[in-house]
Symmetry: C2
Subunit: 654 residues, 2 copies
């Protein structure tokens, strides 16, 4: 009896463990969007033959009164309940369970009656249990319970029917001794984001580039005029690379040349000049008034604007002069430029996040986000977050979301898997991921199973990009137009969120700066491009069609409903997405071979998808409108990549 | 900057997660025996391109100075180190990691030199890093470091060789700024038990039964004379059912009859009469002096004695009179007997663990264990622990092991899986398990994979019993002698710990009390049996042989080295056990069909077991001494269950 406390030895005999969802012992919240369910399961048990009852407790926020949902027992001491999140911001949940002697007594009474035992004394025990409950009960319920206790005490004739009444069971549950139970030792958190955090098609473009003949440098005003084009293509988010003044010192020339020519425009990510920094709009692009109109026009068209946040400075950034203490000094008293030895990036100064003046610096960086929120932006694509402290992001995103739970932060962290996931754990709403480098059926199946069928789905929301200004994968370089079509369909149907870097994508731009490189030749990062988006071979019709299909079919607006199927052909990838109620079931088949027609037999357990396996059924290809009569689980498909490398089949739409 | 503390925002940038072994977020300790290794792995990473260093910290006990072992990086941000436990009782371990700027600097210096960069300024940076370290360094190391700093400052000619020296790297690691790092937020615990906790063959017998003609009631003195027999059979632990006085009230007769005859001896588990309770020896069996001699004789023969602890009372137990407040009263003022409705066990009163007087009662129960420890017993087989509070066991076993870490507690909990595992988590050293009901190759493979290849192996040590006085499985009822042989080999080779209830086992007693029941006819639990252990058809030679094989081959003394193989025949189960260094490799093949000869091709990846796949090799059946010449991975076996249903093949013994 030495070191043990009363609390450890008292009668709190219930164990709660194996709680799901729970990320890293509750160190990190799970994520949901408005209107989603959270299904909570746990192992709940006790010693002996005791009965127990169990409730899921949840609440908006992290303090205040709990709401309770009874948990239902499954098999093997597993219990389950669910709740729905209806407000932005944080929710919390936990589990409460207690020994329920009346439930045990009732269960045993039935067994005793079945073998004809005399239950007179048992009824007295039951009446005593009711009396115990009366101490916690007032009003009408107390009166009802007293009557039941009397009936039980009067003997089996009146007592047995009373004891078995559903009303008595409900009253006893309502007034059960919850205080004597235990609450799970962790309060788990949910971050609830807007629906856009789960579902959206992104379009990235450089507003300084030209899409019309009479243009030498694009502007926000011109870009505003291009918004209807993006709307026509069906995009939900338009995302702009940094729009701030660009540095002159060590400015990069075309094709990342270290010596810029006088007319070179530089990289938008070399932020800051004497014209301003992260809180300025480059005069070359326009004014804050122009930006405001751009955002208003996008909003009017039903699109959101996403801004790029790159926490780094050109040597000319005002911060460098005003706050040299925010940067690292070298022994020769120069400021340390960015590098990944032996590579040097002398046009970029990274912040020193460990500076003794970090408090001021962190606050200033946070104020950049707040600045743009005040200018109508709620979606931020964060450049290279993995090169800044993980705790910084936890602090920044956590803080911003306290007052702006509507914000979305997309992590552009192409880094090692554990760090990629950890950034999501500490707060990033969405994440770039390895999709660009997952090209075979085997790779895609393995990777998307990890993303959608493991705990990863609780905190990591992939945003799928078949290309970016930094990534022109060799599958696009070598696969040409068929590959651009198939990779687009994959991104748009495997991922509820996806994006493209356009117009390079719809125009199938695919020349690398050098063989074996993923950089574009004549990259738009370093020069103004002139795009002809009206070209006959543009993929814009396909893009518009697929985006409409995404909007019309709720099955395509989630990730964790993804299921892969066998095709008997390694070039054919088949998968379905279905709504929970099976009212909308989509089957996608993609030919991954950009060169040849491929055929195979798709094997779909259609019964699981709500389709009668013994009757023929019609499937419609939503890409072409064509109907096919299928039957059973095995059906033949053939896809010519030069025509259309994919089927998006509607199996069921009730 | 509102609710965040300095500690949350400072430069502790390292993340430690995914630590293994760790049970339920560290809520429960893992288990090891003396001399075993603990291999610890974790994901350890940070943002950016920083380098880090990482140490496993461990110590005997749960306080005091840590010992440190450097962790080595594996792939994908996973790190590993190990330590060995050399003392009984608790150990604790955790992980410490820190940013290592000198390691980063050295790594980058090499890259810079490879491309011929001027490193003059880099060497100054390196010298500054050495200076930072000097603040923490004294004596010779400080002098050495100062010299290195000077050499670096003198320029590349002297600086580069100095910078690349292994001595400098070692000094910088030794004096690294560990304080600036982070320690994993949990201290994880290990319970270290004696080797017997992992490896041992148990023999259960009723000392009151007779094994010789001139005997009507066995005694401890007679049982002492039977110990050489058990030693001859190769057992390590002799386990006695309760040896206390047996109650008279509601005593059970033969075959569990509720009406005992005057000469019925009653169940040893109906503990207590006016002759005493849990701290008494039944006069029918002898005296404390006899018990002492019994233990001494066993010890002399190299065997341990295990006692049965059943925390329950017959109605005649002294506790019932002295402490009626330790039991539940019914409304008619009778004491509540044990029941599992509609079944009643009126010869047993369970303790009321929730009594307001629980403190006194729990202390008394614990004193029972201490009482028998003082009488030389360190192994306790606990009867039905799942019907007592889980917290009680945590308190009792935890408390006992604080002063007696040499004790072993075997949980006889044939209950639901989560509770069975939880009892192991809260302290039980070993556990009965579902082995009696796992009979097909598929069931055995699935179950033993769960026990030996998942986290379960860290806290749950199975003790395999093919029979007990309560369990005569139908496979033995129907399979006869061949089944007794095969189930024995399975128990003794699948489990490092196993036990039998004898002499019923070696004499192949297999008549149930009724068809479909697992109880024995004329069960020894309720009557005195007369055993003829000299019978010609006894399995004692097989038992002795297998137990010798277990002692001679360390591969059979562990559990988590178990690997199953294909045989192409569902009646043939094949598996290996090997020591870590492959110096001892055993392959077991068992015919599970008690009726017919079965043959098949055993498919063993022999290369993994250290055997040249391109040369023939000899295997020896340790059961018969026969040698076979095998070659390659696929070899033919045939087993006649009526002769010998198993091979125990020695593949390698260096």
């Amino acid at each position: 009896m030495t070191s043990q406390t009363d609390a450890e030895m008292n009668n709190k005999r219930v164990v709660i463990e194996g709680v799901k969802p729970e990320i890293d012992s509750g160190r990190h919240p799970i994520k949901r969007v408005l209107g989603e369910r959270i299904v909570v399961e746990a192992d709940v048990f006790t010693d002996g033959h005791e009965a127990l009852s169990c409730e899921l407790l949840y609440r908006p926020g992290t303090s205040g009164a709990w709401l309770a949902v009874p948990m239902e027992p499954l098999v093997n001491d597993r219990w389950r309940a669910e709740f729905t999140v209806t407000g932005l911001g944080k929710y919390s949940y936990t589990i409460h369970a207690w020994l329920d002697p009346f439930k045990l007594w009732s269960r045993n009474l039935v067994k005793r009656l079945e073998v004809g035992q005399d239950v007179t004394i048992e009824l007295l025990i039951g009446a005593n249990l009711i009396d115990d409950t009366l101490h916690r009960t007032k009003g009408n319920d107390a009166a009802l319970l007293s009557t039941y206790a009397e009936q039980l005490r009067a003997g089996p004739e009146s007592g047995v029917p009373a004891a078995l009444s559903g009303e008595l069971a409900a009253l006893m549950l309502a007034h059960a001794d919850r205080e004597g139970g235990i609450t799970y030792d962790r309060e788990l958190e949910v971050v609830v984001d807007p629906v856009r955090a789960r579902f959206g098609a992104w379009y990235e473009f450089f507003p300084r580039s030209c899409w019309e003949d009479n243009c030498t440098h694009g502007t926000l005003k011109i870009a505003e005029g291009r918004l209807p084009y993006m709307k026509e293509l069906g995009f939900d988010v338009v995302y702009l690379p940094p729009i701030h003044p660009i540095g002159n010192t060590k400015r990069k020339g075309k094709n990342n040349n270290v010596l810029a020519q006088p007319d070179d425009v530089g990289s938008p990510w070399a932020i800051g000049s004497d014209l301003g920094g992260h809180k300025s709009v480059s005069p070359d692009l326009g004014t804050f008034q122009d930006f405001k109109r751009f955002v208003q026009k996008a909003t009017k068209l039903g699109m959101d604007v996403a801004l790029d946040i790159a926490f780094q400075c050109s040597p000319d950034h005002p911060y460098v002069k005003e706050h040299p203490e925010w940067f690292k000094l070298r022994p020769d008293n120069t400021i340390q430029y960015a590098e990944n030895p032996p590579k040097k990036y002398e046009d970029i100064y990274p912040f020193d996040f460990d500076t003794p003046h970090w408090r001021e610096m962190w606050a200033e960086l946070r104020s950049i986000i707040e600045f743009w929120i005040n200018h109508g932006v709620t979606i931020f694509r964060i450049d290279n977050p993995h090169t800044k402290p993980l705790r910084f992001w936890k602090w920044l995103i956590g803080g911003i979301k306290e007052t702006h739970p509507e914000t979305i932060f997309l992590a552009e962290a192409f880094t090692r898997p554990k760090i990629m996931y950890y950034l999501a754990k500490v707060g990033f709403t969405q994440s770039y991921n390895y999709f660009p480098w997952r090209n075979s059926a085997w790779e895609l199946t393995e990777y998307f199973t990890e993303l959608t069928r493991t705990d990863v789905k609780e905190f990591f929301r992939p945003n799928l990009w078949p290309n970016t200004p930094d990534i022109l994968h060799e599958s696009l370089q070598h696969g040409g137009r068929p590959a651009f079509m198939s990779r687009f369909v994959l991104a748009a149907t495997l991922g509820a969120s996806y994006g493209i870097y356009g117009p390079a994508y719809e125009l199938c731009v695919n020349t690398p700066v050098a063989p074996g490189k993923e950089e574009y030749l004549d990259s738009e990062k370093y020069e103004i491009k002139h795009w002809d988006t009206g070209r006959a071979d543009s993929l814009k019709t396909l893009l518009a069609r697929v985006n409409k299909i995404r909007h019309d079919n709720p099955a395509l607006q989630s990730n964790d409903n993804l299921r892969f199927y066998q095709t008997g052909n390694e070039h054919l990838l088949a998968y379905s997405k279905a709504t929970d109620d099976l009212s909308n079931v989509i089957l996608v088949i993609v030919n991954l071979d950009p060169l040849s027609t491929q055929s195979g037999t798709v094997e779909v357990p259609i019964q699981e998808l709500g389709i009668d396996p013994f009757a023929p059924y019609l499937v419609q290809d939503l890409l072409t409108g064509t109907y096919y009569e299928w039957s059973g689980t095995h059906n033949y498909v053939q896809l010519n990549p030069h025509v259309l490398p994919a089927h998006i089949l509607l199996l069921s739409s009730k």
